[in-house]
Amino acid sequence: MRLIKVIGGLVAVVLVAAVGFLVFAHRSEIAAADPPASFDRELVARGARLAAIGNCRSCHTVAGGLAYAGGVPIPTAFGTIHGTNITPDRDTGIGAWSQEAFVRSMREGVDRAGNHLYPAFPYDHFTKLEDGDLAALYAYLMTRPAVRATAPTNDLAFPAGFRPLLAGWKLLFFQPGRFEDDPRSSPELNRGAYLADALAHCGACHTPRNGLGAQQGRHEFAGGVSASWAAPAIDESNPAPVPWTSESLHAYLRHGRAEHHGVAAGPMQDVTRNLAEAEDDDVRVLAAYVATRMGAPSQEREERAKGLIATAAERLPFNVPVPETMGAAAARLPAGAALYAGACAVCHDAGRTGGMDGIDLALATGVQLASARNFLNVVLDGIHSPRHPSAVLMPGFAGALTDEQIVELAAYVRATYSNQPPWPDIAATLRDIRLNRIAANAEARP
């Protein structure tokens, strides 16, 4: 009997706690409303430029699909979440959302109906947005063509699918509140910091996350992941062989490519494609801010970079069989060297009269990173032109080279073009990427 009582008591406690939690977790619905019939044109235009910085399209527009109609699968550690339709369609989009409902979603991560939203939607950043910017974003979204489209249901591991739990996650990790200027910093850098943090949400990818998927504030910008890509550190530990400057960052963010750094690839290419549509001054302060976060490079790093640039300029075409063109690793890793010579050197080495686009790999950040992920992703998929998404800058080698060959190539490139230790178990990284792709492909199929 006692046992029953104890159990009963426990059940009651749990129930009360659960009810209490649900009460705590509960958010009320905001009544459906018709958005204003028209908006100030200038406000809409401002919203467009801000949305470009916020990179909204990347998660809310499938490749080749209708703008903001949602459906983009976003892989997370807990399963796949889908970007929702944020066009002003009444039934499937946000057409019935008042500005209040929109602002609440951005600042608190709660939809109009009162459901908690997954932090894949970066409200931990958007909460810091200013009222005026939110109004502009609202005006912009509400003037997009309405599209009737419902995103596929999320596919999350138990218990992540139970939304009220998110209230607990928020309690632990989410700090609502506006952005605050750093009084010691200049207005430009403060603006840059605001854009980087509140809107561009750089940290969402470039800051490491903890086991529950929250960004580790103490390690802001120390490097994270995005889909199957590594997002390199953008603080003092940035691994770029040639240190970034505010100018080179501006070029990169704005045009998707920078001298001595190459072309943006993977998810970052989307970011740069969007930033091409932002206000140039905004991109400039964003770049300036990130540059200060990276800090001034050491003398030694500067020297090394100069050396690399000089070597790159003089490097002879590797695929020409004269000894002086070959690196030391060629003898040790002949298979990888032959692959490089036949498949890569044509674009990546000097000797082309046409000013081909391939970067000297000694300057490529992806070759320097601790993991081979980014390098492998680029080899598998290639790179599209940042300006013309359908034009191929570099072809993918996914079908052309076998996994074994890709591993040989990676080992050779790492040995020749970085001063880092060999990548550990490239084959395993490659397998992992492939498995994720198979899953993602299965997901993409209806």
């Binding site: 467009a48 703008a67 002879l316 695929n319 020409v320 069989p321 000797g351 000013g355 013309h388 359908s390």
Partner: protein, 749 residues
């Protein structure tokens, strides 16, 4: 298996490429003719005989029949993928009353075919088709007369078929038995006993093209595939900027590479020859990496291209001026249109093989004009024209004057350095992109006065560089400009009306009471340019037909109705009406979906060639500015349609290529060089840009003269797209290309 076992012997190769003309009488007048020196798109010719018979009036310049009955038809035109071979065979077969496969066609070869100048300007059917049509008909009549004499019957009683002349009594005699050396060695007469159009069996039918089977089965179909015994490979190192001069090279280092046979340097012309192709590419790379250059070209600031061009001196010429006093009132409109440099961008980079032997030079080339090329090579090498033989072999589609002639010169320069060995040169992709002669940038300013909904006055000013720097002279060949003793480039020249160059199609076909059209020819060329499919017609039709829509809008009229109201040419009206009907203009135009637009474009190519009207439905994505062509419907009248599917294929291709130019293409450059060095920096249309539907309706006109088709779609398609974009977005864009950044900037958020 050994590599050499698969080499074709030189003899077979030559036979297969058009040299098999032995034992025929030499049609002297055709060969002795000098290539025209001041050629535009086609040689000038006196009047009288039809088509190219004017220049080569002997029937056996065109048709030869051997004692075995084998029939060889010769044309000075070249197959460029336009299907000309098939159409010419059809014409000859029809008029000779034989099956198409009984005919062997020999295309442009300075040793065996008439000189028909260039295969350009959509002239092949008009020139060569007409010549062969008449020559074949006359040859048949000659054969029938010869048979009549043998049978002692009246010619009218005899019938032809299957390569024989048959008498009503059952006697029959093969053509081969009838011919003698002199029989067909006679001048053609102006009138020909053409077969009645109702009795035609081969013409007017879509027979399959004769060149396709070998192309889809991996046969040696192109000059690129030519393999001669002992053939070696050459590659040219191009300068970093067109104006740069070679300072120094590390020749010894390159010579040490495996397979290298020669490093050829003459002034700033730098090249390498190696035994194997990839060895040659490697050597070229090392040579390029170690070469140093001086100086550079001063190119215009790319953002100020049009201002720069307008500031250059121009030679102005009213090509049409008719003014009548206008009644007062009405409305005037003005608009200026721009077109950037655009490239031919052949998928296969230009290629040629040359062989210097004893006192002969043989060149296998995909040049559009073997005779003019021969003239230029003669000047370049100092060899007499009779020592040089240029044989046309197919190349990758060229669409005008691309690198074909230039690479032939490259091959010749290297062949002279290595006598006795055939030298094959193929350009690298970046060479083709950076050094081909582009289609010129152009400006067109149009103005009109509207009165009572009709055009009362019209003026059109067009600024352009030349549209032909085709050879004829050595200085028209790229590498000749870099030699130690360089050849001067030919002085740029405008091409005269009625064909025109920059002013091609600048005169609208519409009824205009008062009109002035002025060609403003700019001699000075910031970038090297030449003929690109359609020449000025692409731009002028784009401008005229865009402006017609602007005027229609101002007049509150439907674009198609507005055109018809100003069009009296009956065949022009027919294609406009047919395209509109097939598109469903009337029915669907009123109910366009939001974001979708309809556009129309019409022109008669050069006002002399084929008529084409095109209607397009396009969608403009407001967010990205991307234009998507949903469907395109064309109606075309090319005169008598010899091969309707061939016409459809040409028009479809023209429409898609024009769509590519119109939506995407612009040669980019900085102050010293062209930066569009590959497909990544010069994007073109891809499968994802392919319309859902594309239709071409051919209006056949049996018995009417052939009208050139190949370039007819370029202008109308561009205008139809621009008009559809304006219709969909409400914003008129007058600058090409209509790429998404431009469209997006124009339509705003």
């Amino acid at each position: 298996m050994t590599a050499t076992s698969t080499f074709l012997s030189r003899r077979t190769v030559i036979a297969g490429t058009g040299a098999l003309v032995v034992g025929f009488s030499v049609a002297r007048r055709a060969f002795a003719q000098q290539e025209p020196q001041n050629v535009g798109e086609e040689p000038r010719r006196p009047v009288a005989l039809p088509g190219s018979l004017k220049d080569a009036p002997l029937i056996d310049s065109w048709i030869r029949i051997e004692a075995t009955g084998a029939i060889t038809v010769m044309t000075g035109k070249a197959e460029l993928g336009q299907g000309i071979k098939t159409a010419l065979i059809q014409i000859a077969a029809e008029q000779l009353d034989v099956a198409p496969h009984a005919i062997t066609l020999v295309t442009a070869d300075t040793a065996s075919t008439p000189n028909e100048g260039y295969t350009a300007g959509s002239h092949s059917m008009q020139d060569s088709g007409t010549a062969i049509l008449n020559a074949a008909a006359q040859a048949r009549a000659i054969l029938v007369n010869a048979a009549a004499a043998r049978f002692a019957l009246a010619a009218g009683e005899l019938k032809t078929g299957d390569g024989k002349v048959a008498a009503p009594d059952g006697r029959a005699i093969g053509y081969g038995e009838l011919v003698s050396t002199e029989l067909l060695h006679v001048e053609a007469t102006p009138a020909s006993p053409l077969k009645d159009t109702s009795r035609r069996l081969v013409m007017g039918r879509s027979i399959e093209r004769v060149d396709i089977p070998v192309k889809v089965t991996g046969g040696a179909a192109y000059v690129h595939d030519l393999r001669l015994p002992d053939m070696v490979h050459g590659r040219v190192v191009r300068p970093p900027s067109p104006g740069a001069r070679l300072k120094a090279i590390d020749e010894a280092r390159v010579r040490r590479l495996p397979g290298v046979l020669a490093v050829v340097r003459n002034g700033s012309f730098l090249a390498v020859v190696a035994a194997r192709e990839y060895q040659c590419v490697q050597a070229m790379r090392l040579l390029a990496a170690t070469a140093t250059w001086d100086g550079h070209s001063d190119l215009p600031e790319s953002g100020k291209l049009y201002e720069t061009l307008l500031a250059l001196p121009s030679r102005d010429n009213d090509i049409l001026h008719r003014s009548v006093a206008l009644p007062p009132g009405g409305r005037t409109l003005e608009a200026t249109y721009h077109r950037p440099y655009q490239m031919h961008g052949s998928i296969g980079p230009s290629c040629a093989v040359a062989l210097r032997e004893a006192d002969a030079l043989t060149v296998w080339t995909h040049s559009q004009g073997v005779y003019p090329l021969r003239g230029a090579l003669s000047e370049l090498t100092g060899l007499g024209a009779e020592q040089i033989r240029c044989i046309h072999m197919e190349g990758s589609g060229c669409y005008g004057h691309n690198g074909a002639d230039d690479v032939a010169a490259d091959a010749v320069l290297l062949a002279i350095a290595l006598p006795g060995r055939p030298v094959r040169v193929q350009w690298m992709r970046e060479d083709e992109h950076r050094f081909e002669p582009y289609g010129p940038a152009m400006i067109a300013r149009l103005g009109a006065a509207l009165q009572d909904g009709r055009i009362a006055d019209w003026h059109h000013d067009v600024w352009s560089n030349t549209h032909s720097t085709r050879p004829g002279k050595a200085g028209d060949l790229l590498s000749a400009l870099y030699l130690q003793a360089p050849f001067p480039p030919s002085p740029p020249r405008p091409l005269p009306q009625p064909d025109g160059g920059g002013d091609r199609n600048a005169i609208p076909l519409y009824v205009l009471p008062s009109v002035r059209v002025t060609n403003r020819f700019i001699p000075q060329m910031p970038l090297r340019v030449s003929a690109l499919r359609g020449l000025g017609a692409y731009m002028n039709v784009f401008a005229i037909e865009s402006f017609m829509d602007e005027l229609a809008a101002a007049a509150g009229a439907d674009p198609v109705a507005f055109r018809l109201a100003h069009l009296e040419d009956a065949r022009g009206r027919d294609v406009v009406t047919e395209a509109a009907r097939r598109f469903g203009w009337q029915a669907t135009h009123a109910q366009r979906r939001p974001g979708f637009g309809h556009g129309f474009g019409f022109a008669r190519y050069k006002n002399l060639g084929a008529y084409a009207a095109i209607a397009v439905e396009a969608e403009v994505a407001r967010e990205s500015g991307r234009v998507r062509i949903v469907r395109a419907v064309a109606a075309v009248d090319s005169g008598e349609a010899v091969n309707p599917d061939g016409i459809r294929n040409q028009i479809e291709g023209g429409m898609l290529q024009s769509a590519s130019w119109t939506l995407f293409e612009e040669v980019r450059f900085d102050r010293t060089h062209v930066t569009s060095a590959s497909w990544a920096s010069y994007p073109i249309l891809r499968f994802s840009d392919l319309p859902e539907r594309i239709e071409v309706h051919v209006i056949d006109r049996p018995g009417e003269p052939f009208l050139g088709t190949g370039e007819a779609a370029q202008g109308p398609m561009a205008a139809a797209i621009a008009n559809a974009v304006a219709d969909a977005s409400g914003v008129r864009i007058r600058d090409l290309p209509l790429h998404k950044e431009r469209v997006k900037a124009a339509i705003g958020v």
